[in-house]
């Protein structure tokens, strides 16, 4: 069976075949024989060609957080466009969102404002760090979804833009 996962904007494919004493996995051009699979509540371990791996994991509603040798990976099932799988709603191309959750400390624009590329649209603060969100291109502020002092989540549109009037 084929499994497809998204990780940091990349999609990866793993082919898995059940065998008598375990599994055969194909990743890129290599094949791996997997044995002694053990799955616990938050741990999975298996042997590949004699070497033992232990990986911790925890699942959210759409993400699998995994840790191997101290390194963290967040893996999602790949968005399958051809099938009926429902996509997770994310920010649209002409909106601006924060890459981290935090406090909206500055929101110097309002609906209707004309902005140039690079204009600061919002400043979000979290854990003593300020993050400035700038306009990706010239445009007009279509909608502002929060007000100063609001707590905002990561990847949720704070300011929505539309192309400048002349381009409409």
């Amino acid at each position: 069976m084929e499994y497809r996962f998204d990780h940091l904007n990349e999609t990866f494919t793993i082919h898995l075949t059940k065998e008598k004493n375990g599994f055969r996995a194909r990743f890129r051009d290599d094949e791996y024989r997997i044995s002694d699979l053990e799955i616990q509540e938050n741990m999975i371990s298996f042997t590949i060609h004699g070497e033992r791996f232990a990986i911790y994991f925890a699942r959210d509603k759409d993400k699998n957080y995994m840790s191997i040798d101290g390194e963290l990976f967040t893996i999602k099932p790949a968005q399958i466009s051809k099938s009926g799988a429902r996509g997770i709603s994310t920010q649209s191309d002409n909106s601006v969102a924060s890459p981290m959750p935090g406090l909206l400390v500055k929101l110097p624009v309002a609906a209707g404002d004309k902005v140039e590329a690079g204009t600061t649209l919002a400043i979000v603060e979290a854990m003593k760090m300020q993050n400035e969100l700038r306009a990706p291109s010239d445009g007009v502020v279509k909608k502002v979804n929060f007000k100063e002092g609001d707590q905002v989540d990561a990847f949720v549109a704070i300011v929505e833009l539309e192309p400048p009037a002349s381009e409409k």
Binding site: M1, Y3, F5, H7, L8, F12, I14, L16, K18, F23, A25, F27, Y32, I34, L37, I39, Q40, E41, N42, I44, F46, I48, F53, I55, Y56, F57, A58, R59, D60, N64, Y65, M66, S67, I68, D69, G70, E71, L72, F73, I75, P77, P99, M100, P101, G102, L103, A126, M127, K128, M129, N131, Q151
Partner: protein
């Protein structure tokens, strides 16, 4: 001795202090903001009092509110931890005026060491070096040349109004000097609207070495050796170790005595840290005094066997330091790694959120000072420090291996952390050889990037998890039919039974 202490802080340091109090038989009062109603530090307190909404200004920085609740609870002393009000002389003074002991330096010494100019003057008077250079703006080329010759090349030209590297020029010989001044002035003018620049000695490959000092109210002063904190990211220390691989016994004694002189000159009391910059030629320069318990204090505790927070409390209560300098010794090697909620794969962006799974490192020579628990939602309002992983071992080589293995087994899932990044630092040749300085992270960027190959096992694991759902159910007995039946718990309280 105090009967009750209020801890004006949160997170791991509040827990650290609470433990020290309880071990002295002292009752502890904790405080919390709205964002910290469910925070872990409250589990270690005998009482817990609300001090304001989630913003630091309204709560942990709110002097009058904290003094109020301390009085209300009948606390005889306040421990400020680090950060927040720890080095605020107004707070120390407010405590003094309310007859509450401030567990830290007296407010006068705190003011003095908090003032850069005044503390540099005090330090120079007792013969401890500061980075040599102009005390103000450079007048003309002759002035610059004279000063450069006096302090010796390389020198650095800095913008008087500056910061963030703008207008800065490192100069290695006199023939570059004039052009560099002009370039620095142009850049300063355009960045800050003021062309003033000055010159000081440029410390190449500087190492950050600090000395832990204790001084009681009876004039007894001892140092507890050094900590090296040169591994920094954006001027934030992330790994500290002791002994420093950069200094030997003779230099250690010399710097330790210098640190004691500084503390004595400032008439400083309680625990303090004297920070120095060390260059490759055994020159060291005073930077500043940190007038608090440091984040990295555990490594000193590990090698000396002295409990620094306990000493802070005892000194604040008027006790004498009974041991002499010669009674203290370093044994073995200790390293601390700070665990932050941040994403090394996304420019170290802060990463608050829910901790879905937690398995902290443990075992021989491993100490974890933690402020988190599984299920907790790390709030976005405060410093991203989650916990500190500290190891001790017989020697530096084993200590590095030990912390590296401990990082492999330090699992926090649900948010991003710097655990993997810290481990990558431990695995660099430079760090292993002790050959590093404060620019280490910038200079070793490529060695610190995550290896792409690790993803293979993660993907195989994800695929196996997806394929094996049925066997899990039976193998481990999580979801037996009994669990979907009605149970007394459901009839009693309507719980959703959700075994995992």
């Amino acid at each position: 001795m105090f009967k009750k202490i209020l801890i004006a802080n949160r997170g791991e340091i509040a827990i650290r202090v609470a433990r020290a109090c309880k071990e002295l038989g002292i009752s502890v009062v904790g405080v919390f903001s709205d964002a910290d109603r469910d925070s872990y530090h409250l589990h270690y307190m005998d009482e817990a009092l609300w001090i304001g909404d989630s913003s630091p200004q309204a709560s942990y920085l709110n002097i009058s509110k904290i003094i109020d609740v301390a009085k209300q609870a009948g606390a005889e002393a306040i421990h400020p931890g680090y950060g927040f009000l720890a080095e605020n002389s107004n707070f120390a003074q407010a405590c003094e005026e309310s007859n509450i002991a401030f567990i830290g330096p007296n407010s006068k010494a705190l003011s003095l060491v908090g003032d850069k100019v005044a503390s540099r003057n005090t330090v120079q008077k007792v013969g401890v070096s500061i980075i040599p250079g102009m005390q103000g703006v450079g007048r003309d080329t002759k002035h610059f040349k004279e000063m450069a010759n006096k302090v010796g090349y390389p020198v650095i030209v800095k913008a008087s109004m500056g910061g963030g590297g703008k207008g800065m020029r490192v100069v290695y010989s006199e023939k570059e000097l004039e052009a560099s001044i002009a370039a620095g002035q142009r850049e300063a003018k355009s960045a800050f609207g003021d062309a003033s620049v000055y010159l000081e000695k440029y410390v190449e490959k500087p190492r950050h070495i600090e000395f832990q000092v204790l001084r009681d109210h009876h004039g007894n002063v001892v140092h507890l050796f050094e900590r090296e904190c040169s591994i920094q990211r954006r001027h934030q220390k992330i790994i500290e170790e002791t002994p420093s691989p950069a200094i030997d016994e003779a230099l250690r004694n010399e710097m330790g005595e210098a640190a004691k002189k500084v503390i004595e000159a400032a008439e400083y009391t309680n625990a303090g840290t004297v920070e120095f910059l060390l260059d490759g030629q055994r020159n060291y320069y005073f930077l500043e005094v940190n007038a608090r318990v440091q984040v990295e204090h555990p490594i000193t505790e590990m090698v000396t066997g002295v409990d620094l927070v306990r000493q802070q409390i005892l000194i604040a209560a008027g006790k004498k330091i009974s041991n002499k300098q010669k009674d203290f010794a370093q044994r073995g090697h200790a390293i601390e790694a700070r665990i932050y909620a941040e994403d090394p794969e996304n420019d170290f962006m802060p990463s608050p959120g829910r901790i879905l799974y937690l398995n902290e490192a443990s075992g021989p020579g491993i100490r974890v000072d933690s402020g988190i628990y599984q299920g907790w939602n790390v709030p976005p309002h405060y410093d991203p420090i989650l916990s500190k992983l500290v190891v001790w071992a017989e020697n530096r080589e084993i200590a590095i291996r030990r912390i590296s293995n401990a990082l492999s087994n330090y699992v926090i899932l649900g948010i991003k952390t710097n655990v993997g990044f810290l481990k990558r630092i431990m695995e660099t040749k430079k760090f292993r050889e002790g050959d590093y300085h404060t620019h280490f992270i910038d200079e070793n960027e490529s060695a610190l990037i995550r290896q792409k190959e690790k993803i293979r096992n993660v993907l195989i694991a994800a695929a196996l998890l997806a394929s094996e759902k049925n066997s899990i159910m039976t193998q481990t007995g999580y979801a037996t039919s009994a669990q979907v039946e009605t149970t007394p718990w459901q009839e009693l309280g309507g719980w959703e039974i959700c075994k995992h």
